[in-house]
Symmetry: C2
Subunit: 245 residues, 2 copies
Amino acid sequence: MHFTSEKRLDDSVLEREFTLGEIPGILWTPASTPAPLPLILLGQPGGFGLRQMYPRLLARARYTVAEGFAAAAIELPGSGERPRSAAADRVGADLRRALAAGESVTDDIIDRLILPLVDQAVPEWQAALDALLALPEIGGPVGYSGGVISIATRLAVVEPRISAAVLFAGSFVPRAILEEARQVTIPLYVLLQWDDDGNDRQRSLDLFDAFGSKEKTLNANLGGHTGVPQHAGEAAGRFFARHLK
Amino acid sequence: MHFTSEKRLDDSVLEREFTLGEIPGILWTPASTPAPLPLILLGQPGGFGLRQMYPRLLARARYTVAEGFAAAAIELPGSGERPRSAAADRVGADLRRALAAGESVTDDIIDRLILPLVDQAVPEWQAALDALLALPEIGGPVGYSGGVISIATRLAVVEPRISAAVLFAGSFVPRAILEEARQVTIPLYVLLQWDDDGNDRQRSLDLFDAFGSKEKTLNANLGGHTGVPQHAGEAAGRFFARHLK
């Protein structure tokens, strides 16, 4: 992990860009950290990239740091400047064709779109976690928040250092991930936008049902994908405070 | 409205029992109220009665008063000491027979069980509201919390003095109420227990979907009917604070 830039924001948040091998990332901490902090990994939707998502990521990071956590994000495979695979381009084209034709998105498209992303992104998050937890200012415990719900689900199954997760039901969910969800046991707080056009509501409810966690909350609100109300974001923050402090 | 008893509880909550015609009720306020208070009507499940529900009602009332509201409950038709109708007894027997036989509860049973209760209880709540709002220590606005969700739904449609409602998805919902729900426009916060045996989860989700309100939240948690976690109750409290203060 190499820090490539360091910037102190006006509210005393320290923002550091880093690279982890070929993966760019950003770490936000308070400017001064007398004791090692718990950490929240900030997931993002696929296909946009850190730069394009930066304003929303920064808002989440500021809130997270103000609540007493460190926050970190890394570029997803195939997003931003990272190379796209030919297979990802092909399924992207198939998806656009299906949507333009008003057809339903098949399980085959969902599998080809999501599963390779999960397979690649999860070990990258784990490598980032290794590097972040080696920093003196970060001590854990660790939460994961938002982003592609299938990545979060796999990560919650395979990564024991993640103690709690806020999931955002807003992307296609392969059937295989529904099965993996039964192995998740950490506390979950799931945000669902009831009128999210890009989201299969029933599949999201099935996924919530499938999670094996003994403590899980679904917080569903009227509105589209980006319309998560402030009170729901604050409720997710309180969930992390209950479980990570 | 006649007050029949007055008791100051150890935490300075004033508990007054009253009768409104033949309907018993309880009003909880702070012992001293320098300014008129907003009011929350505390609904209860059918068939138990104020006396049997008193410990849980009192806990909700204490919390509500501590948050700066007056709280009131009235006895439902056919509950407690209030007379039961022969028709209610017949459908109660039909329901027990269906449940004992492991049969699904038919729409006919649900309609006969719930609709007469709604028809009778809603004007009683309105009469109670007339009397309560005439007291100098109560000023509004008014919220409704919990109880039989079909009563809450009808009340939200017909009673303009109710500004926000916390609903508890935990009872049978007639199809006619699903239709009425489309006319509800006030902000709603719906608590759903995901594993509530006495509740049809899909019907509850359909009801949430049907509400016409522009602002509505579903907060669903793992567990059975009486297992609402403390954080969900507190979230409902914050919802009232946002809308009634």
